[in-house]
């Protein structure tokens, strides 16, 4: 195992970074098709987790993590996390026959689970349990290979070609998008908007063997790498700005009150990178990654938010504008800290694993 980046991983990073630099202007205008086509078709990121025999690249969580770092650095609105990681992971486990469609990036899929779902709660019972406050689908039934139900808080749903609906006992249903009603939700994170997805007796292919909680845990562990990317952009951009911006006849970055804050942030980001690499490595090795994932998710989630908040503060008035990109990072960081379990959820999950059982 290594916590560093391999040469292959660095090459992949460079390819993704160059491509995003090229396509970012279009993506900023709301047209993410060019970025996604380039990532999926030219670089092949959509199929990283898919075995070569099924039309993918047969890579591992480590490479996925590097792509996520870059997508975090650019807050690119592409469905990589939601389709190529989360939905793909469920469909691979369930043995979906047509996975090559996703691997090529020609189609994308969304898992009908709220972005706020925790890997430590059973989302399938949550779906039928009317007591899960506010955020529950009105009803779900998965009968006769037809799906009905309403799913809120679904990321990656806008523009998806397929929906993956979790049922009980490891059943998952695959529904084509034209049989779903997708209503956009005005979302905090403008670069990863949510939607409500409704099915009314939609015909489905029902598969057996997908584990939604495991896929959520896998995705939570990799989200940490996206959070590292977000934090890194915020730190680098802020350091550069403070070297340039002058007040009181000197660069504001020469004031010790700010230097110490940035030194602390740098340390937190260094720790986040180590934790995120460790989670990716453990997920790639297939060993029990629960501790590594929980540590990375708990730490990186908080670090990304803190660095983004500090970045805004240290930019002064310009940081409050819609025009400056720092708000995109703050919104992504805050949303990411709720996605797939909050830092608190992940710390709580650690308790029995590390010998710190909760009080009676």
């Amino acid at each position: 195992m290594t916590l560093l980046y391999t040469e292959v991983e660095e090459e992949l990073r460079t390819a993704v970074r160059d491509l995003l630099a090229d396509k970012a202007p279009a993506a900023a205008e709301g047209d993410n098709a060019a970025a996604w086509n380039g990532l999926a078709r030219d670089i092949g990121v959509a199929g990283l987790l898919v075995p070569e025999a099924s039309g993918g690249a047969g890579a591992s969580a480590r490479e996925v993590a590097v792509v996520l770092e870059e997508l975090g650095r650019a807050v690119t609105p592409v469905p990589f996390l939601t389709s190529s990681v989360l939905a793909t992971r469920v469909l691979l486990d369930a043995g979906y026959a047509d996975i090559a469609r996703l691997a090529s990036g020609e189609a994308t899929a969304a898992l009908c689970v709220s972005l706020a779902a925790s890997p430590y709660r059973d989302v399938t019972t949550a779906a039928v349990d009317a007591d899960i406050v506010g955020k529950r689908p009105a009803s779900v039934s998965l009968e006769n290979e037809r799906v009905s139900g309403r799913f809120t808080g679904v990321a990656g749903a806008l523009g998806a070609d397929l929906f993956v609906v979790p049922g009980e006992d490891g059943l998952v249903a695959v529904v084509e998008a034209e049989r779903a009603r997708v209503e956009p939700v005005v979302s905090l994170d403008v670069t990863r908007p949510l939607a409500t997805v409704t099915f009314d007796g939609a015909p489905a292919v029902v598969l057996d063997g997908g584990s939604v909680p495991e896929a959520l845990l896998f995705t939570a562990g990799l989200l940490a790498s996206e959070q590292v990317g977000v934090a890194e952009w915020c730190l680098t951009t802020t350091v550069a700005y403070l070297k340039e911006r002058r007040q009181f006849a000197r660069p504001v970055g020469s004031f010790q009150a700010l230097k110490h804050r940035l030194a602390d942030l740098w340390l937190e980001v260094a720790g986040a990178r180590a934790a995120a690499r460790n989670a990716a490595d453990q997920l790639a090795s297939g060993s029990d990654a629960r501790v590594a994932v929980a540590v990375a998710a708990a730490h990186c989630g908080e670090v990304a938010v803190r660095v983004a908040e500090e970045a805004l503060q240290l930019h002064g008035g310009i940081g409050m504008t819609w025009e400056h990109p720092v708000h995109l990072y703050l919104k992504r960081a805050k949303a990411d800290a709720i996605a797939f379990g909050t830092p608190g959820d992940h710390r709580t999950a650690l308790a029995p694993l590390v010998g710190l059982p909760a009080p009676e």
């Binding site: 000197r250 970055g253 230097k259 030194a263 340390l267 990178r273």
Partner: protein, 390 residues
């Protein structure tokens, strides 16, 4: 390049020929040094094999259970004096000092800080005046850990007060047996005295005890301080940690657990694990030949983590937290974090953010050297030392 196989063969051959049971520990350690198995990354003839640094772990593993040189007692020698001697010493100095330093026969101390010069080390006032082939040293050092045990000290002194402060410094090895050296214990908040004040009065040091050129003291001292940080940053993960001790307490006392403490304990557990992984990543970078800047940050992490875990432990223990194991004023052999009680840990950990560069100074270093932020305007750099305001 010496590889793992060679190192393993050497170590196994050495063990076959040197049964620790039939030799005195010191003879065994000397023989180990002479076999190049002390610190394998050091040069041949100086206790090493010119091997990559990471192979040391293999040696330690193979030598588990053999006599050890009590590394915590000779930490300053191993972590600071040795790399500085290796970088700047003459061949004679390397031959003379490194072997007894490593075997623990000769303890080293660090004579840097003074009453008037702590964070601003370059402002120090101890004078070294050339007298024929010798130097005569006068001044006072303070907070000198292990001076009472030390045979030698690494010493920075001012040879020329007319030069600006960084330029008038020269680096020496101080003979602690010189009659002009007086060591007085300073009692610490833990009750004992790990550190001392050291009075230097007409101490005569031969020019062969100078390390580096006259006037090069600041540069040589930077090597010492950098190695101190690397040593702290790249130390392997200890088998037992403060968090591990806390966890044992937690398991032993279900009746003391509260939800508030639980939340904070989990927070610190994550913090400790992130610190461990950061250190592991740093070591990997060092081994790959890209020493990362994380080294300067590791000490900041250690200091904060130790302080927060020990503080939580004292609070968790409630009535036991109100007791202390021993206030006796004695001269300590070193730091005993894991052997002593929670109160000692809490108090001793306070020093972690002061010794070896305060956390404020380390943040300055990270901000300026790692992030490249501009230095604050200074008025003390170009002026002759003797004209600086005090």
């Amino acid at each position: 390049m010496v590889d793992a196989t060679t190192v393993r063969q050497r170590a196994e051959a050495f063990l076959a020929g040197h049964d620790p049971a039939s030799m005195s520990p010191l003879d065994w350690l000397r023989a180990r040094f002479d076999a190049g198995l002390a610190w394998v990354h050091f040069p041949e003839g100086l206790g090493g094999l010119d091997a990559p640094r990471d192979l040391q772990g293999l040696v330690e593993q193979l030598f588990r259970g053999t006599p050890d040189n009590n590394p915590s007692r000779i930490g300053i020698g191993l972590g600071m004096a040795a790399p500085t001697i290796l970088a700047y010493g003459t061949d004679e100095q390397k031959k003379r000092f490194l072997r007894p330093l490593w075997t623990g026969e000769e303890v080293w101390c660090q004579l840097f800080s003074e009453p008037g010069a702590g964070s601003d080390l370059a402002s120090l006032a101890t004078r070294a005046v050339r007298d024929g082939d010798d130097w005569v040293v006068d001044g006072q050092k303070v907070w000198t850990s292990s001076a009472h045990l030390a045979r030698w000290g690494i010493l920075v002194a001012r040879h020329d007060p007319d030069l600006p402060k960084h330029r008038g410094l020269t680096y020496f090895v101080c003979d602690m047996e010189d009659p002009g050296v007086e060591v007085r214990p300073l009692r610490q908040i833990t009750g004992e005295a790990e550190f001392n004040e050291v009075f230097l009065t007409g101490v005569r040091l031969g020019d062969d005890l100078r390390l580096g050129e006259v006037g090069d003291g600041w540069r040589v001292a930077q090597t010492t301080l950098m190695n101190e940080r690397v040593a702290i940053g790249s130390a392997g993960s200890p088998r037992r940690t403060m968090m591990g001790l806390f966890t044992e307490d937690w398991q032993a006392h279900p009746e003391l657990r509260t939800h508030d403490l639980h939340r904070r304990a989990l927070d610190l557990w994550v913090q400790g694990e992130v610190m461990r992984l950061t250190g592991q990543r740093l070591r990997e970078q060092l081994l790959a030949g890209h020493p990362g800047p994380e080294g300067s940050g590791m000490k900041l992490l250690f200091a904060r983590h130790h302080q927060e875990v020990s503080a939580l432990e004292v609070e968790f223990l409630r009535e036991d937290g109100l007791t202390y194991d021993d206030w006796t004023f004695r001269r300590a052999d070193g730091v005993d974090f894991l052997g002593r009680g929670a109160g000692y840990r809490y108090l001793r950990a306070k020093g972690n953010s002061i010794e070896g560069g305060t956390s404020e100074i380390l943040r300055n270093i990270v901000a300026e050297r790692v992030l490249g932020l501009p230095a604050e305007p200074r008025t003390d750099v170009a002026v002759p030392w003797k004209d600086l305001p005090r």
